[in-house]
């Protein structure tokens, strides 16, 4: 399992990265492995307000659906539309397959470092 050092992680298994004041969000390698083959993603729209700790979309496998929980509060400024046609990218390259970008961050969940997150996953698993 891969836990890149330059990212922060939520306890609901999203990863977070900051780029020029914009928060980029995806799901971790651990999450994609646990969810299995993903077949579809429901995304918010650009301009939607998201709230830390609340769902901003969901991912579907064949027999399950899981909420995507937003680690930060703010405004969605970009969505990765490529995932709509190629949800397998979430399985294949979870750290390249960003899901949304959020600007005007007002709040965030407690986030873990790569090492702490790895320990957290080991406990869960």
């Amino acid at each position: 399992m891969n836990y890149p050092n330059e990212l922060l992680y939520s306890k609901t298994h999203e990863w977070v990265k900051e780029e020029d004041g914009v928060v980029v969000i995806g799901i971790s390698d651990y999450a994609q492995d646990a969810l299995g083959d993903l077949v579809f993603i429901n995304l918010p729209e650009v301009g939607d307000e998201v709230v830390a700790g609340e769902a901003f979309g969901d991912v579907e496998s064949v027999k399950a659906v899981s909420d995507l929980v937003c680690p930060v509060s703010g405004t969605v400024c970009a969505i990765n539309e490529e995932l709509l046609d190629s949800p397998e990218m979430l399985n294949e390259e979870p750290y390249d397959a960003w899901i949304i970008k959020v600007e005007n961050e007002t709040d965030r969940e407690e986030l873990l470092s790569a090492a702490d997150y790895e320990a957290f996953c080991a406990e869960e698993g």
């Binding site: 083959d37 579809f40 496998s61 064949v62 027999k63 949800p87 397998e88």
Partner: protein, 461 residues
């Protein structure tokens, strides 16, 4: 096998209609379609062969054991088909004048009288077309009841975590917030958890009894009393009525309304996924809110009328003695099969069950690597329809078996023997089971591919 479109040959046709015997009128060009639909061109022989070939690739209740939990796959009597095909029913227009449809009215009234007595309800509608549709109708009764009293703070419907997915989905369709409550370790309602969520905002409780793990909740009177005390109403999901019909009545358990699955409990065929009939019964206090001319309507006309005729035929056949006899034997068969399987696979709850029981294969999977899915698929090689898989959600690696009353002891013995063989096989050749089925119409389908790249129609290219 080939699709019907791949068998199509230009010019093949059936001669159905005579030439038009009045002057033909034509529509202005701006109203007519540009291209004809690409429907297949076949002769009647070809159509008959095609569908006969398809029909050979279907497993019906008439083919063999079908212990699909929660679905009550009992034998569908042929007499029920014959009565429902009487021209006196099939040729009747739904908006024909009342004095010309007295037979339809008598049939519906008779079915209503039987079913109200069996459920302990005062009134009933046959408008809903299926179980989930009945749930929607039933919860709408609850909604109208509270609304009519101006009791607008009741925003929540309580649903146990063992419930069918339709229960929470229904509550949401009726605008309610869903409160899921955990089950007690014995699979029944956790009274403390229930008390903790009951209050002024409780609109009602949706419950299946016996529940989805096949256990009759001994606290049922206490449960319905608590809900009523909080000002809520109790909804009975009739999916499992086959266990108790003629033995105990939901109305006597304290329920205010109920839906029935006539296509489960009352032996009407499932038709590969419908049509069903989701008759909804209620106590007198809710009767004014049943579908009526000025109130709610959940579909056109009078519901799936012919399905009601089939259920009525079944009820007339069984009658006073046969109805409880069916329930008692459904429960007997389930317990007999459970006891026979118990030496191998592990029941999730080791006790007497009602009409169905759940196996918990989580330990077995840990030990052998063989999952509930592998076992289910292996059963197909023996010509048995697999049980319901991975439901209810509160049991991991669940297989849920409902044999019904129309199976003989020999069939149950044979089924138990097949389970025993698979239990042994898992230890010696798990890979064979991972790859099952081996002798079916197809191997395991790639469902991920189907969902990622949906092909939902033939493309003609």
């Amino acid at each position: 096998m080939k699709l019907i479109f791949e068998k199509s040959a230009a010019g093949h046709r059936c001669a159905i209609l005579p030439p038009c015997d009045v002057e033909e009128v034509a529509l202005p060009a701006e109203l007519t379609r540009e291209a004809a639909p690409k429907l297949p061109e076949l002769n009647e022989t070809e159509i008959s062969r095609h569908y006969t070939e398809l029909n050979k690739r279907v497993h019906g209740v008439n083919c063999g054991f079908y212990p699909l939990g929660s679905c009550t796959m009992k034998y569908n009597p042929r007499i029920d088909e014959e009565t429902a095909a009487l021209p006196g029913f099939t040729a009747v227009h739904p908006l024909a004048p009342a004095h010309t449809v007295e037979g339809c009215k008598e049939a519906l009234d008779t079915a209503k009288a039987y079913l109200c007595e069996i459920t302990g309800m005062d009134d009933m509608t046959f408008q809903p077309a299926a179980g989930a549709h009945g749930e929607f109708t039933g919860v709408m009764l609850i909604k109208q009841y509270h609304d009519a009293r101006g009791d607008s703070k009741r925003r929540k419907i309580i649903v146990p975590d063992s419930a069918h997915g339709t229960n929470p989905a229904t509550a949401a369709m009726c605008g309610y917030d869903v409160v899921n409550i955990p089950s007690a370790p014995n699979g029944c309602v956790d009274l403390e958890a229930l008390k903790a969520v009951l209050g002024e905002d409780t609109a009602g409780l949706m419950l299946t009894n016996p529940n989805t793990v096949g256990i009759f909740d001994e606290n049922i009177l206490e449960i319905t009393r608590l809900v009523h005390e909080a000002g809520g109403l109790c909804y009975y999901d009739g999916a499992n009525l086959n266990a108790v019909m003629g033995v105990v009545r939901p109305g006597d358990m304290g329920f205010d309304c109920i839906h029935l699955n006539l296509h489960k409990t009352f032996a009407t065929p499932h038709g590969g996924g419908g049509p069903g009939s989701g008759a909804v019964g209620c106590k007198a206090a809710l009767a004014p809110y049943l579908p009526n001319k000025d109130g709610i309507r959940v579909r056109s006309f009078h519901g799936n009328f012919l399905v009601v005729i089939k259920a009525l035929t079944y009820l007339l056949t069984l009658g006073k003695e046969g109805v409880p006899e069916a329930a008692k034997n459904a429960v007997l068969n389930a317990n007999y099969l459970q006891s026979k399987i118990k030496g191998t696979f592990t029941p999730a709850f080791d006790r007497l069950c009602m009409h169905e029981f759940v196996l918990d294969l989580s330990g077995f999977k840990k030990e052998t690597g063989v999952s509930a899915l592998d076992v289910a698929k292996s059963l197909i090689d023996y010509g048995m329809h697999p049980p319901t898989m991975y439901f209810p959600l509160i049991v991991h690696e669940a297989l849920m078996l409902e044999p019904t009353e129309t199976e003989s002891r020999d069939t149950l013995d044979e089924a138990a023997e097949i389970f025993r063989k698979l239990f042994e096989l898992a230890k010696t050749d798990p890979d064979y089971m991972h790859a099952a089925p081996h002798n079916a119409q197809i191997g395991r389908p790639d469902e991920v591919r189907a969902a990622r790249n949906p092909i939902l129609r033939y493309s003609f290219e």
